[in-house]
Symmetry: C2
Subunit: 106 residues, 2 copies
């Protein structure tokens, strides 16, 4: 599995709009086991995106999906920048869609 | 929803053992929508735990579950310390168990 944990900074006051722009892009992504978009509790302009993919190629391919490209276009003017970014190898978990979960090997 | 993103440092060379200790603790946690344990790609002793709960109370209650307490006991001697920790409010996502997902309000 391939994982990403990343912080995105919305333009001041635009976090809700940014969330809406992202919401529509994350359905129907092949190989996506988990994709959670969350507000940072301590920073009113920050969001965290945590992702689990079957492999890195699935993540890369998702960036070419029409729905994802449209969401990126909508989100772009609402993004002020990016914060921390961590690449991970998910080992196991709860809530990893139908392809993953406790039984999937590393 | 209530979310946590946290980095845990294994004692040198003990990451695999730490993962095994944690693996058994994370089943059957009421209110847990997602719980992913991942190796840090760039740091051989680090793991990331990303969690989504129905609310903060569910997370707090989980720490009293017998399975979780046993896992914490097993994990404790394998943990060298903790790194970054971010508290979040998950807004929506893919892979949020049966209680959550796209339709759940903030």
């Amino acid at each position: 599995m391939y994982g990403l944990i990343g912080k995105m900074m919305a333009a001041t006051g635009k976090r809700d709009e940014l969330l809406e722009a992202l919401r529509e892009g994350i359905t129907g992504m092949p190989g996506c086991l988990a994709y959670v978009v969350a507000e940072d509790e301590g920073d009113p302009d920050a969001i965290w995106i945590t992702e689990v993919w079957v492999d890195e190629a699935s993540h890369r391919a998702s960036l070419q999906l029409e729905g994802v490209r449209r969401a990126i276009e909508r989100a772009r003017p609402l993004i002020a920048g990016f914060g921390e970014r961590f690449v991970t190898r998910p080992a196991f978990g709860v809530g990893l869609g139908s392809d993953g979960g406790m039984g999937l090997p590393n």
